[in-house]
Structures are given as C-alpha cells and as structure tokens.
Symmetry: C2
Subunit: 157 residues, 2 copies
Amino acid sequence: MKLPASTEWVLHCATTLAQLEPGAAASTTQLAQYYDLPAPYLAKQLKTLVRAGLLAATTGPRGGFRLARPASEITLLQIVEAVDGTSSPYECREIRQRGRGALPAEECRRACVLAEKMAEAHEAWRGNLAGTTLADILASLPPSAPARTRQRLAGTT
Amino acid sequence: MKLPASTEWVLHCATTLAQLEPGAAASTTQLAQYYDLPAPYLAKQLKTLVRAGLLAATTGPRGGFRLARPASEITLLQIVEAVDGTSSPYECREIRQRGRGALPAEECRRACVLAEKMAEAHEAWRGNLAGTTLADILASLPPSAPARTRQRLAGTT
C-alpha cells in the first residue's frame, strides 16, 4: 500500500504556510519553487486542500494560499485524507460468501471478523495521525525556521 | 493507499487452514474452490506465505498447505506483510532538501519530523495487527465453524 507522492508535498506545503505571518499568503509558484515541484500538479493538490477546508485561496496581486484555520486545528490526518481519501487500505470483497465454503447470508449480517480487525488497525493509524497538528510540527522546528522560511518564500517570484 | 485484493484471500485461507485437524493439509484446488478464487494466482500467494515461514507445503496425494506453526504464533501482521511487504505507505523523497527552501545537509541528519510522524502512524497500524493472532480469530468463530469448514473443504476435489 502506498500513499501518493503528493502526500509529502501537501504535508510540507501546509507546514510552510503555517509559518507565514497572520494574513499572509503564498502562491503556487512560490511553493513550487520553494520545493522544486511541478507547479500545475501542485496547484491541483493545493486546491484539494482548499476543498477540504484546510487552506483558503485568496486572489489579487498578493494572493495565494493560507491556512483556513489555526495550525492547532489542522491535523496530519486531515491533510493526508484530503489527498488520499478516508477509506481503509483493506478491501473486504466478502469472499466468505462465495464458493463451496459460502456462509449463509444470515451469518454475514455482521462484518467479517478479519475485516473488523483490519478496520481497527486502520483506526489506530488514523487516531495516531489525528493526534498531531501543524502546531505540533511547528513546535518541533528550530526557533529560527519560520523567519528563514518566510524570507526564502518571499525571494521567489 | 490500497492493500492488494489477495490480502483478503490469504487472511481467509490462513484462517481456514487454522481449522484443520493437526497434520492435515488443504490443496490449492480445495482452497480455490472453497472461496471461488482463481487457482493459479491463489497458488502464487500461498507460496508467498510458505516463503514467509507461515505455511508449510507438503507433497504427495494428500499434500497441500498447512500452518507452519501454531495459530497462536501467526499474527495478522505477518500474513498481511507477507503479501504486501513491510514498507510504510508514506514515502519521504526529501523534498526538504530541494528547491529554494532546501535545508543544508547538516540540518537533515535526522529524519524529517513529518516522515517521523508518518512512520509512527505506520507503527501504530503494525502494532495493532501484530496484536491479533489466527488463534484469536478462531476463538471468535462459532464453535461449529471448524467442523463445517473441514467438511466443505474435503468435499472439494
């Protein structure tokens, strides 16, 4: 199982936007040059975060993207699921109801115990990622990081 | 992120083999008919479990597959990782070291905090699946299940 490569992009871009001054925004071009990413595809991912309510898009000459709410209210899970969806990596196709071993429908009203266990593991993964916010990530960076991030972002066109 | 469809097959087939009498085996044909699965592709998956040390293959007219060790010593994690590998779904391509925002190498000796958090979530998933054995799955089935499973398996050719 693999998350899309853009997962790394959006996690880093959201972390970068969390380091802007209040009210400031960064454009797709700025973020693409900051991380050397293909701007058109990055733009698509950033718009996905806007649709998920995590980023806000502003227009005008100094327009771009900013966090839609405080960094302490945006979790890694929300960012990851914005680009990859919420479904479990395990897909139960109900093979227990097929073939010579097929269980009768009345024994299959409850989810299969294997599917249940796989869902529990997915919830453990989700719960872990829901426990970390962008504010936690920022708190782990060196104190000098935000100023440097802002300076390098501004230096791009 | 998606696990392969064969994940469901191997979890169910291992659960089925865990219900055999000690020393008994089931063939690929029997298991394929039991779940209505394509035998050649199922055979490939079962061999993967043999290579992982979870199943043993026996030859001869009553040959086939059986668990290579007690059901209490085979976890769901071992079965899932036998077919999908152990790597994290999150791939860190070190974009923090690229573009205008590139961090100097000396600041990147430690893994990126985002990669660390994603790895922690993967470990939460792994830990959860490592906490359930085939014996736990068997204990959750109705008491009549193993006899029925054996009967239906034997009815196949």
